[in-house]
Symmetry: C3
Subunit: 480 residues, 3 copies
């Protein structure tokens, strides 16, 4: 007889018990972890001394807590595929790569799978344009990958994956893809000294599968709360500023970071909440998104006014949530636009109002005139609260200010559509400049481009779609 307490959530005429569902998410993830551990034990016994890993799927896999599975591997290895319908898919790639690095605590990692061109499992399997595969692969390297592999070597002639791209296409070696693949091999050889260096970042973004599971359950205030969408909106603002961030577990050691971002981390344990509050009290800066810290690790509401876990740190109390209707938008006091969510924020703890919802109800929505973004000095640090989902440009402006106050600088000042990241080793630093834009650009740099062998003296010119990896002056390798 199976005890009732061992049953998974059952079909129900109404809404299933959310805490039981959360437990079931955890149980499922732990069951996979247990299987991994059992298999790992055998593998390690049979191949002692060989590093062990398994394909992690980063944001492609909601079902498995990446942090716990990564913790049971010797090296983090991930699969990453672009979403063809997403115009910012290359930013999604960067996010996945930064999370891959976060899963391994910042250590170099391995890209086990990506594609040379189209995949076969999306509604429209858009192929990569010339140069796109190179940018994709080198973006992974920029963000800490020490190896980039593909699915698949030779394109299948039959079967379910025959229309998935490969290193060697149906057309053979006289093809665009094969030429690009072999050219990439040459690029990677030129970058060999980068291997083992670590990505530089002064910003942590708290990411948690538990929050993902809880945020997207039934019977929450709004089905428009999609965890990856909200995290991505904050990440994208930073990306466009040229600021690198680590995606880390809320329980991570935050020492060494200047700024911590907390987009809609609805579930927070007491311990993790205390750690963030302590980080700020000790002089750190934090920016917290709406509906963060509202429930504890059991998905029980923190009473007494939202956001329970961070109320004192933020100096605000939220009286009531006012999610917006589908396609509804409001204006903020600086004229910018926001969607999805508003709430009735009271700056009771002394927070200052940075932006408010526009004063008249037609523009300002259900909480017209009330605070939308607040700033609060807490201990030796500063905390910000963002009570809505600002549009991209508005969030970019806001986080630029937050970074400035926190003393966080970009890897380099960049024009729109250009990605910059710095890897630093014991002997040298490497500035990756990836130009996703259709324009030639110039980026401040001093040193030598390992790919083109060009010298950067004050600036490096990177052509539309091209990539440069500058070994920076004053950071010559030991053998240089």
């Amino acid at each position: 007889m199976i005890s009732r307490s061992f049953l998974p959530p059952r079909a129900t005429a109404a809404v299933a018990n959310p805490t039981q569902r959360l437990d079931h998410w955890r149980f499922s993830s732990d069951a996979l972890l247990a299987l991994h551990r059992r298999e790992a034990e055998i593998v390690r016994r049979l191949s002692p001394g060989v590093p062990l890993t398994t394909d992690l799927l980063v944001t492609l896999e909601k079902k498995v807590d990446g942090f716990s599975l990564a913790g049971a591997c010797d090296v983090v290895s991930v699969d990453q595929y672009l979403t063809a319908a997403d115009p910012g898919a290359h930013i999604g790639l960067s996010l996945d790569a930064d999370l891959a690095r976060g899963l391994g605590g910042g250590a170099p990692w391995l890209l086990t799978e990506h594609s040379t061109s189209a995949v076969n499992w999306q509604p429209r399997n858009v192929a990569k344009t010339p140069g796109q595969m190179r940018r994709n692969s080198l973006a992974h390297v920029a963000r800490g990958a020490d190896g980039v592999l593909y699915f698949q070597w030779r394109q299948s002639r039959a079967g379910a994956e025959k229309w998935h791209s490969a290193m060697l296409p149906h057309g053979g070696t006289d093809t665009k893809v094969w030429r690009e693949v072999t050219a990439l091999g040459r690029d990677l050889r030129a970058l060999s000294e980068v291997r083992g260096t670590r990505v530089e970042s002064a910003v942590a973004l708290l990411f948690d599968w538990n929050a993902w599971w809880v945020l997207e359950m039934d019977a929450t205030p709004s089905q428009d709360l999609r965890y990856l969408d909200l995290v991505r909106s904050w990440y994208e603002a930073l990306w466009s500023l040229g600021v690198t961030c680590d995606l880390v577990h809320p329980g991570s050691d935050l020492t060494g970071y200047r700024l911590v971002l907390v987009p809609s981390l609805c579930l927070t344990s007491d311990t993790d909440a205390k750690a963030l509050n302590g980080f700020v009290a000790g002089g750190g800066h934090a920016a917290v998104g709406f509906f963060s810290g509202v429930v504890d690790e059991h998905d029980h509401v923190r009473l007494g006014g939202h956001p329970g876990a961070y109320r004192d740190m933020l100096g605000v109390r939220v009286d009531e949530f006012f999610p917006l209707r589908d396609a509804e938008a409001v204006r903020l006091s600086d004229g910018s636009r926001a969607t999805v969510w508003t709430e009735l924020v009271e700056p009771r703890g002394g927070a200052e109002t940075v932006l408010s919802f526009a004063p008249d109800p037609v523009d300002g929505g259900p909480v017209a005139g009330h605070p939308a973004v607040t700033r609060h000095g807490h201990g030796d640090g500063v905390s910000w609260y963002v009570a809505t989902r600002p549009d991209a440009e508005a969030l970019r402006t806001l986080l630029a200010r937050v970074c400035r106050e926190a003393g966080v600088a970009a890897a380099a000042e960049v024009p729109a559509g250009v990605e910059v990241v710095r890897r630093r080793g014991p002997d040298a630093a490497y500035l990756f400049v990836i130009n996703h834009s259709p324009h030639d650009v110039s980026v401040p740099a001093e040193g030598t481009d390992l790919l083109s062998c060009a010298t950067a003296d004050g600036g490096i010119m990177v052509r539309a779609g091209d990539v440069a990896v500058v070994r920076e002056h004053g950071t010559l390798p030991a053998d240089g």
Copy 2:
């Protein structure tokens, strides 16, 4: 062995037998009624003399014939929740309230459940703006409720309903909702003399679960025939005119009404059809919507030209239905717009054409130039036929004329967005004025506002979002 005739409708490769499906709707509703009766018997035995009821869901519940279940209760009690995505949700509330009253034959009823603010089961659980809960609650009272209760008292800390609003929110007593709830208590005390009075109405709107079941089956002329949508469009026109109506069963006694509305009552029994025909012949007025009276109580078509049950009364014969395509619209002869449905109406029985479809096929659609709205003197009364779904403004104009001819007056002349209803007791009449608009308004009235204690001398000023309940002069209570 189960006899074949006891089987519910089975999965089928084509379309299930509609009469069998209708029987199954009835069987399911009756099965629930039988359960209710069995439980009621026990409850009555154990608590003799205590009035018995059960939560009815009005238009939220298609599966149960509200009239039959209400008939087995001592008092009607209903649950009502706003649909957040519906900009006219407050009009839907009024409709539900008028149906609640109709279920009990006009007697005062009880609102067992509604919400102080957001619910937790809609896609986006929009919270109530300040004053909205008060307007909602008092609209129920205006339309005959003698009590308004909420789900839930204290907002759950855990479980599926933790994000559903309550009288006492997560934030405690120092919150918008708690302040509004306690203020409402004071309002209700001020209205105590209204209890037991009855709502005044000269109009009946025929509503029937059987018609609902049949209209929305597969294999009808158009899936755009949604019963609640069609009923609501007629109801909304009346609401905006300030005219109150009772939603009653087609088999009800129509004596005392001046006007009967029949929006798309596709199924009509011979008895009910005869009653309406007799009502008009005897001097009453009726307005009938398209696809009414086309089938009998077994969902068998009434032959000889539509609408079979009302053909003679209306003085028309419909040769063929011409439902419109998705998003297709036609013009009527007065320039107004109509959608969903047209039909080939021939005024063979002598009806006069009030409006026709525009003459050219591009504007007028498939039956361009033919009658769209007709009027017919039948016996001592008048009957109207509406052969399409006019836009809101056009239907409002049409029903205004129908009311005028029938001698039906508004409870009071009102500006847009203002709701007026009159309850009348043996000693006094009470005019409820609920201002849903963003403007302050003045409404003709003589008497005393029980809420503000202001005196109305010719008119009462009601602020944007506010409510007044005027005890009208000349109707002082016995102890006045």
Copy 3:
């Protein structure tokens, strides 16, 4: 025990084996064919000498290979119903009729079912406007039907099909539909001499259920590849040019045709590919759409560059597919617009570029500047390749040129919205002119209209919505 190899495709966590799924489509179709043969054997034994048939559903039925089932009938008979939401439903009707004729190798066939007006199983069952039923019925006759029947005689009073139109409506004989049905009887009598004649066509369009099955599987380059949509787009261009085509199996004898069209025939057997290549080498013309000939009869990719089966014949090699995003459009070098698909075409075999994708990436899309339409002399014939889905007008212009070069003429020069087809018997030819447009038109013709008895001397005037069937001069019947 059931052998594993006999199992149908099973549910899978990823994508089912496409070759197994193709086998299952074939098995299912063959199973129905086997049943048909077993029943036919009994019927033939009991009614010797009587022609045997069964309702074929043409494009309404993906599951059954129409060619194989038709091959087991003595005469082809089909059901055809308009899709109300399709503004070009009358063109879909023509396509179905031409396919019905193709199923029987060009012999006259029988329309077993169509409707006098609305059906009952579509979302919105739009009724036929006056004259539309007559045009529909006579279009079937024009395209080879020697009989047109209806579902249903008397409109059901009850049951699932009671709202389906009939020859005798609910309203009886004094109705629009009944009058039109009896008038049609008179028309058909006037056309009796047409019976047994054959439709004239110099164009074959290759149609194959196997290609349909394979094209619409999961995990193809784009879900926007819908077989009927692609075939229809080519068919519609021809229809609007007044050019009649036969829809035939790829394995058919192509002798006698001047032009063969091959829209997205993804699957091609070696034998069928060889036949088409031989047809062109021998002096025929062919136009091939993208993603044709890419897999063999087992759904295995033809290697070495697409389109494997036709590469040499077309003088091109496709390096890589570049399907477009949802709603994405590109411009061609003549300013026209195309959607759904682009690909990297290299004219390696000597094809000339007729149209290319616009040169800049914003307008031209992922393969900007590369060939979009090519033309190649192959042996004594000419082959065209269309590497995208041009908009209607662009495809019409292109196929007009293809027809002109192939020496294919219209049945008659026609204005927009007018359908022309010629049936020819041993003694006379009959030009059907069906005016679907809202304008009166004049079409070049010499002879006598069998319907109106008017004489055409250089031209025949056909009123908006009307039909003429001209027995052409110089083709008088034997007894004339």
